[in-house]
C-alpha cells in the first residue's frame, strides 16, 4: 500500500519514510538536471537568490519532452542520478529534502542524507508517458535558455515513486539485488 505524501517535505514525512516504501507524491516539486544543478550551486556560492525556495524542496531529475498542444508536459521520466552527486550535498545543506531520479548515489550523497535528513526516491525510468499523467501543471521558472534542462515548477498529484535511500542508511537497491543475486 503506497504512502501518500506531500511536497515540500516536512521533517516528519522524511522521518517516516523507509527504503522500499512505495509513495504517491502530491504538491509542488522542481525539475533540475546537470546544468541546472551547476547554476544553482554557482548561485549559492555567489550568495545570490535562488529561483525557488529550497526548504523541504524535492528536486526531480528530469528533462521533459515538449508538450504537444493541449498537453501539460510531454514524456517526463527520470534521468540517471549519479551525475548530480557532486552538487546534492550542498543543496541538502541549504534545505533540499527529497530527490527523484534513478540509479545509485555516491556515498557522499548518502552521508549528507543522514546528516540533514533527506530521502532519495526512484521513479520508473523509461515510463515517461505514464508519469506525465500525474503532472497537472508545469512552468519554467529559471534558466529558460537551457531548453529541456531549464528549471520547471511542477504540480503533481499521486506521482508514483519508491524510496531507495532513507535517512537511516536503508538502501533498496543493495537489499533488492542481494536477494536475487546468484552469480
Amino acid at each position: 500500500m503506497a504512502k501518500k505524501i506531500t511536497a515540500p517535505l516536512s521533517p516528519e514525512t522524511v522521518k517516516d519514510l523507509r527504503a522500499g516504501d512505495s509513495v504517491l507524491l502530491s504538491g509542488t516539486i522542481y525539475t533540475g538536471r546537470d546544468l541546472a544543478h551547476k547554476r544553482l550551486t554557482d548561485s549559492i556560492k555567489a550568495g545570490e537568490k535562488l529561483p525557488f525556495d529550497l526548504a523541504g524542496a524535492v528536486i526531480y531529475y528530469v528533462g521533459p519532452a515538449p508538450a504537444k498542444p493541449g498537453q501539460v508536459i510531454g514524456s517526463a521520466g527520470p534521468t540517471t542520478s549519479y551525475r548530480m552527486d557532486t552538487y546534492s550535498p550542498l543543496l541538502m545543506e541549504k534545505g533540499m529534502r527529497g530527490m527523484i531520479g534513478k540509479g545509485n548515489r555516491a556515498q557522499s550523497v548518502l552521508d549528507a542524507m543522514k546528516k540533514y535528513g533527506a530521502v532519495y526516491f526512484a521513479a520508473v525510468g523509461g515510463a515517461g508517458a505514464l508519469i506525465a499523467r500525474t503532472i497537472k501543471a508545469a512552468r519554467v521558472i529559471a534558466y529558460d535558455d537551457l531548453g529541456p534542462e531549464a528549471v520547471r515548477e511542477l504540480k503533481v498529484e499521486d506521482f508514483p515513486a519508491i524510496v531507495i535511500n532513507d535517512m537511516y542508511g536503508g538502501d533498496l537497491y543493495k537489499d533488492g539485488v542481494a536477494k536475487y543475486k546468484k552469480e
Binding site: K102, G126, A129, G147, E149
Partner: protein, 280 residues
C-alpha cells in the same frame, strides 16, 4: 541510375524519428510479457506492467515512450545505382531529423560542443553510418539512442589469450557495475573484433536485431544464450530493484581481427529499444 527525391527522403526520415520514439517494436512488447512470466520479484513484475501501460499510452497518444528521445543514429544502405535528386543525401537526413524532432514534439538532447554545452535546438547533427551496396535500393534505419544507457557502455582491448571467458568476464562486469543506471531490463550489444572504433560500431549495430532472433552462427548463438543466462543471474532486475529479468537479449556481432588484438565493445540499450527502417 535510379533517382529518389530529396524531399521524399527528408519526409520519410522525419516520420521514422517520430514512429521509432512513440511506437515500441512488437518484439520488445513481447519480451516484457515473457519477462512477466519468469520474474519472481513483486517489484519487478510491477515495473514490467508499468512499462506495458506506458507503451500503450505512448502508442495511443503518439507521445514518446521516454523523454530521452535520444541521439538520432542513422544507418544507410545505399545502392551504387541510386542518386538523390534535388539535393544531397546527408542534408536530406539531417533536415528530416530536425523536422521529425520538431513536429513530433520530441526532446532536443544534443549540445553543440561537449564542454560548452549549448543545445543545438534541433537534435541535429544526426550520426550517420553509410554502406554502399550493389543495386538500386536505399534502406534507412533510425535508431534513437538514449544517454543513460550509452553512459554505461565501454570498449576494452582484450588479447587473444583472454578468449571467450575474457569476453564474458568483461561483459558481466560491465553490466554489474551499471546496476539501475541504464534502465533495466536492458539489451546488451557486444562487438568483438575489428579495430578500436569498429568494434564499438558493431556493438551499436547489433542492437538493431529483433529480440528473440537467433544468431546465424551456432558458436555465437550459444555464447549469446549463456551470457543472457549469466546476466540474469546477477539479480539486478527491472529498474535495479532486484529480480530475474535484468536483460531481455544479448546480441553479438563479430568481425575479422588483427593477430595482435581482440577488441570488445559493450553498448547497452535501455528497455526502450527503439529503431525503425524504411526501404525506398
Amino acid at each position: 541510375m535510379r533517382e529518389i527525391k530529396f524531399d521524399t527522403i527528408r519526409d520519410k526520415v522525419s516520420k521514422l524519428c517520430i514512429d521509432a520514439n512513440c511506437l515500441l517494436g512488437d518484439d520488445v512488447v513481447k519480451a516484457f510479457k515473457d519477462g512477466l512470466a519468469v520474474e519472481e520479484s513483486p517489484a519487478g513484475k510491477d515495473i514490467l506492467n508499468q512499462l506495458l501501460d506506458n507503451e500503450q499510452i505512448a502508442r495511443k497518444e503518439m507521445m514518446p515512450i521516454c523523454q530521452d528521445t535520444g541521439w538520432a543514429v542513422v544507418w544507410v544502405r545505399m545502392g551504387s545505382g541510386v542518386r538523390v535528386q534535388g539535393g544531397e543525401l546527408y542534408d536530406a537526413i539531417q533536415q528530416g531529423v530536425a523536422k521529425g524532432y520538431k513536429e513530433g514534439y520530441l526532446r532536443k538532447s544534443i549540445v553543440e560542443d561537449p564542454l560548452r554545452r549549448k543545445n543545438t535546438g534541433t537534435n541535429t547533427p544526426a550520426i550517420i553510418y553509410t554502406d554502399i551496396v550493389p543495386g538500386d535500393g536505399l534502406e534507412i534505419t533510425v535508431q534513437p539512442k538514449g544517454g543513460g544507457s550509452e553512459n554505461m557502455s565501454e570498449v576494452k582491448m582484450l588479447s587473444a589469450a583472454d578468449g571467450a571467458d575474457g569476453i564474458a568476464k568483461f561483459v558481466l562486469d560491465r553490466v554489474w557495475r551499471s546496476q539501475a543506471n541504464p534502465c533495466p531490463p536492458i539489451i546488451v550489444g557486444i562487438g568483438i573484433g575489428g579495430t578500436f572504433e569498429k568494434c564499438a560500431m558493431l556493438a551499436k549495430h547489433s542492437l538493431l536485431r529483433e529480440i528473440g532472433s537467433v544468431h546465424p552462427d551456432p558458436f555465437y548463438a550459444n555464447m549469446e544464450k549463456e551470457l543472457l543466462e549469466r546476466i540474469n543471474r546477477l539479480g539486478i532486475g527491472p529498474q535495479g530493484l532486484g529480480g530475474r529479468v535484468t536483460a531481455l537479449a544479448v546480441f553479438i556481432e563479430a568481425f575479422p581481427c588483427h593477430i595482435a588484438t581482440m577488441p570488445c565493445a559493450v553498448n547497452i540499450n535501455c528497455h526502450a529499444a527503439r529503431h525503425k527502417s524504411v526501404n525506398f
